[in-house]
Amino acid sequence: MPATSTSGTPGNRGLRVLLAALAVTVLALVAGAGTGFAADVPFPMVPKAAAGTQCVEDPGFMRTNHMKLLTHQRDDTVRKGIRTTQHSLQGCIDCHAVNDAAGKAVSHQSSEHFCVACHEYAAVQPDCFQCHTSLPSGQSGGQAAR
């Protein structure tokens, strides 16, 4: 390779411009975040559960581990027939149902649904409701068996 001039070869020049643009963008974002831009970042409005009830686990634990509970419990229930209510999905839905203005529970099609509110924010799409009803027992297709 010949010795580079101050402006570099055409390929090098393009690369330098690109790197500079990247650096400026990153710095702008970081600076913007530091100047209170964060105040505009949406935070998930997690709906409150049914009044007077206590979740089966502590909220911090649930936030980190609810997915592990679900993936473990579902095998226990489907493959082994263990149907404890403590970690039952329908149990969660029953308690965490959110009602609309008319008093009817919203389904996962609505952004106000308990699971959807947080998952929309986190941009993680769970596929539970492709099969499971997202409505509480009694308001879904029918009564739960028990």
């Binding site: 263990i82 492709q130 009803t133």
Partner: protein, 246 residues
């Protein structure tokens, strides 16, 4: 209380009372459990191989043109009716069987036979099709990839494929597009000590549900008394569903 304990007359009376109660309980209890319906299993306990759930269907009592078991199942399991016969799901169907030699005609309901050697379980590539310890054959729809090989393998055409997006599912029967589904012997009811929906609905009492492993259950006693057969018994699948008048 301490006075009674020191008085020998009272303590002997107490002992007699307790003793009589114990003997009475011991005599009556087995009889009560015989008459009582199937007990709900403790929800925390897994299904056990000690039980083998089965059905006994009396085809001679099945009324021509009656499809109440089918309607009950569709309602119980939240199965949709899109008006597309070829692709709509069915867990149970009524089949009319006519002997061309004698012109004798009968009808009977056919559902998943909950075989002891299920071909569908053998062929499933992901172990989604499985047999629960108590003999109920199920599709684990968390694992099903929708390849439909089990549908090819089933000798009874018991399985359906969800051909469209599912809505308004029942809480006890989650079902969704792209997975295979079939009769669950109403496992959610069975685990709670109840009969499957079809059995409960049948107006002529043609269907009987029970534990084939329990020699004292109604179904076990009946299959010992009356001649029963299984569909395509020659295939060696050993169905849990037996028929009278096949």
């Amino acid at each position: 209380m301490s006075d009674d304990r020191t008085n020998p007359e009272t303590s002997r009376r107490d002992l007699l009372k307790v003793g009589a109660a114990a003997v009475a309980a011991g005599t009556l209890a087995p009889g009560i459990t015989l008459i009582a319906p199937a007990q709900a299993r403790n929800p925390a306990d897994p299904a056990s191989a000690k039980q083998r759930w089965g059905l006994l269907i009396d085809a001679t009592k099945c009324v021509e043109g009656c499809t109440k078991c089918v309607t009950a199942c569709n309602e119980e399991m939240g199965l949709p009716d899109h008006g597309r016969d070829a692709t709509d799901p069915q867990y149970i169907r009524v089949v009319t069987v006519r002997d061309p030699e004698t012109s004798h005609s009968k009808q009977l309901p056919v559902m998943c036979q909950h075989c002891e050697n299920p071909p569908c379980v053998d062929v499933c590539p992901t172990t989604a099709s499985f047999k629960r310890a108590d003999g109920i054959v199920l599709v684990d729809r968390h694992r099903c990839i929708g390849c439909r090989y089990c549908m090819m393998a089933c000798p009874y055409k018991a399985r359906s494929f969800a051909h469209e997006v599912a809505t308004e599912q029942k809480p006890h029967n989650p079902r969704g597009k792209g997975c295979v589904e079939s009769c669950t012997l109403c496992a959610h009811r069975v685990d709670a000590g109840r009969d499957p929906a079809c059995v409960e609905t049948c107006p002529t009492g043609a269907m009987l549900f029970g534990d084939l492993n329990d020699p004292n259950s109604a179904i076990s006693r009946k299959v010992k008394d009356v001649s029963t057969a299984t569909i395509r018994g020659d295939l060696g699948t050993k169905p849990g569903v037996r028929y009278i008048g096949l």
